[in-house]
Each structure stands twice: as structure tokens, then as C-alpha cells.
């Protein structure tokens, strides 16, 4: 709108708007470029979208038109030219002042009034909207970058945790080895105990055999000895005992 020109302090060199409005890093390294086909950034710079449109006067006449006249005719030149041309066209009736012309004047007045009256407000509102949209895109982009960065950090952490699983696996393997060792030793103990039990049984059995045999032998010997003692011998021995007792009693 017209009020915009107050904000323009410099003559903008006209950067061309690109196919892509936001500048990102130019895609590179897709193909190996030969020396003759190198990207020419000097003569063909990356197009940039302009912030403001080029300057116009009276709503639509390009500033260049006036600059073109200034060098030749000074500041009044373009207006003199315009008025002179209009006078010529109207006086020769090349431009005919028919009914549409007066209709046009009223439309022109209404349009100028509307632009002067509502232009600044609409411009301010639209600028706000433009900024909102631009900011929302910017925030979206920044949020996306942040979230992707967070994802990378989280992924790194997950990898670090996965590294920890290796220790856990080692510990579990050790645990299993310990259990195996324990089971082996338990079985070893069982085998030892069983063998010992059997050997003890054998020892005990042999001992009992020997004791029984010994006992039988003793019994047999005693029986046979008792059997071999005759009544005569018994008497003699009794008499001998009594003699011995008497001898002892004297002593």
C-alpha cells in the first residue's frame, strides 16, 4: 500500500525471487561437476525473494519512469510529459471523453479514497498476517530441527544403553557358568557319597562276616574243649583247685 514507502529507506537492488523462497543450502554433491560445468555463483547468484516490492509513484507508476525523465528534463518532466500527452489526446479527441470517462472519474475517486482511508489499516493487518505465517513456518522448522536433534541424542543414549547390555550378557553368562559349576559339584558330591556308602557297606559287611566267623570259631572251640573234658579230669581239676586254695589259705 502507499504507506509502505515510508518504511523504505533504501533503494532496494532488485533481488530476484527464486523458485524456493526460503534460502537453504544449495543441493551439492549430487553429481560430480567437471571443471567446465562449475556452478557460477557470481553471474548466476541464488535468487532471493524480495522483502518489499519496487518503488512506485501514485499507486502504480514505476519509479524508473520518473528516473528516466529526471536525467533529461528535471523533476517536472514526467508530469509535463503526461499532461501534455493527455492534452494532445483529448484535444484531438484521440481519447474521446464519452460517458465511460466520467464514470471512470467517479470510480477513480472512490478507489483513491478507499486506498487512502483503508490502505494503511489493511497493510498493517496483512503485514501482521504475513509475519505470523512466516513465524509459524520458522517455528515449525526450528521445532523440527530441535525434535530431530533430541531424537539423535535419545538414539545415542539408547546405543549407550545397548552397550550396557553387553555387560549384562557377560554377567548372565557368568551366572550360568556358576550354576553349571554348582550343579557339577553337587553331582560330584552325590557320586562321592554314593560310592562311599557302598564302600562302607562292604567294609561293614566284611567286619560282620569276620565277627560272626570269629564268634562261631570261638563257640566251636569252646564246645569242643568242654566236650573233650571228661568227668575224671573234672574231678582232678576240682581237687587240684581245692589243694591250691588250701595252699593259698596257709600262706
Amino acid at each position: 500500500m502507499l504507506s509502505r514507502f515510508a518504511f523504505r529507506s533504501v533503494q532496494y537492488s532488485r533481488p530476484l525471487m527464486g523458485v524456493r523462497c526460503s534460502q537453504t543450502v544449495a543441493a551439492s554433491g549430487e553429481r560430480a561437476v567437471t571443471a567446465s560445468e562449475e556452478r557460477d555463483e557470481v553471474r548466476f547468484p541464488r535468487p532471493v525473494r524480495a522483502e518489499f516490492p519496487d518503488k512506485v509513484r501514485h499507486g502504480f507508476i514505476p519509479e524508473e519512469w520518473f528516473q528516466f525523465f529526471y536525467k533529461k528534463t528535471g523533476v517536472t518532466g514526467p508530469y509535463t510529459f503526461g499532461v501534455g500527452l493527455a492534452t494532445y489526446f483529448i484535444s484531438k479527441e484521440i481519447y474521446v471523453l464519452e460517458h465511460e470517462f466520467y464514470n471512470g472519474i467517479s470510480l477513480f475517486i472512490m478507489a483513491v479514497f478507499a486506498v487512502k482511508k483503508f490502505g494503511p489499516k489493511v497493510a498493517a493487518y496483512l503485514d501482521k498476517e504475513v509475519d505470523e505465517v512466516a513465524n509459524s513456518w520458522k517455528h515449525e522448522r526450528e521445532d523440527e530441527i530441535t525434535s530431530l536433534g533430541d531424537t539423535v541424542v535419545a538414539e545415542k543414549k539408547e546405543q549407550w544403553r545397548a552397550e550396557g547390555q553387553k555387560d549384562l550378557f557377560a554377567a548372565k553368562r557368568e551366572n550360568v557358568a556358576l550354576q553349571l559349576e554348582a550343579a557339577y559339584r553337587e553331582r560330584l558330591t552325590i557320586a562321592f557319597n554314593e560310592v562311599k556308602r557302598r564302600l562302607d557297606y562292604q567294609v561293614e559287611r566284611q567286619n560282620i562276616d569276620r565277627r560272626i566267623a570269629h564268634k562261631h570259631m570261638v563257640t566251636w572251640v569252646i564246645q569242643n574243649v568242654l566236650k573233650s573234658i571228661s568227668p575224671q579230669q573234672e574231678k582232678e581239676s576240682l581237687a587240684k583247685c581245692i589243694v591250691d586254695l588250701r595252699g593259698l589259705a596257709k600262706a
Partner: protein, 108 residues
């Protein structure tokens, strides 16, 4: 070169992103910097087949777009430019009918 293709001179490896307002052919002296004697030769060097003419119109259209319409905070100027252009165009095409509305009988 079929419809919708880039100009034959455009090479993305050298020129980067395509700019529809730009002429990628061999550069010549700008028309505004010519001496009057060179104008004939300049027009003689121009490619005048219909495809090139359409291309020139397309580039002019995109130059106008980039200058007034596409900037981030563009104003009402392009609308008034289109309206003015349309007024002139329709006046010219209707001139045959409008000239009967002339008021003066005698012009000097």
C-alpha cells in the same frame, strides 16, 4: 524441447535454481545502453521465432511478478498496473466504436 521443459541454454550445474525471469542465453548489450545506430544490428541479432518471442513474454511476466507481486510485503500497485493496462487495452480494442462518440465536428 517440449512443452514445460527448461530452455535449452539452462544448465542446472552452472546456473543453479531455475529463475523464470532470467535469460540464460549468451548475453548481448542491453537495449537501454544502445546507440541509435546500433539498434538495427541489435534487432538483427535477435531470435525471432515464435518460441523465442513467447519466452521473452514469459520472462517479462516473471520479471514483473518478482518486482511487484511476489515480494513478501507487496502492495496494491500491481493491481492498479493491471487495471491501467486493461483500461488502455480495452480502449484500444473498442476504439472503433468509441470514436463515434466524438463531440467536435471540426478538428484543426
Amino acid at each position: 524441447m517440449a512443452f514445460g521443459d527448461y530452455p535449452a541454454e539452462y544448465n542446472p550445474k552452472i546456473h543453479g535454481p531455475y529463475d523464470p525471469a532470467r535469460y540464460y542465453g549468451p548475453p548481448d548489450t542491453p537495449f537501454g545502453q544502445l546507440k541509435l545506430t546500433e539498434v538495427g544490428a541489435w534487432f538483427g541479432r535477435r531470435n525471432k521465432n515464435p518460441r523465442a518471442l513467447v519466452g521473452a513474454v514469459s520472462r517479462a511476466w516473471w520479471r514483473w511478478q518478482h518486482k511487484y507481486v511476489q515480494p513478501k510485503r507487496s502492495g496494491i500497485a500491481p493491481f492498479f498496473q493491471v487495471v491501467t493496462g486493461a483500461m488502455l487495452f480495452f480502449y484500444v480494442i473498442n476504439y472503433g466504436k468509441l470514436k463515434h462518440h466524438r463531440n467536435y465536428k471540426y478538428h484543426w
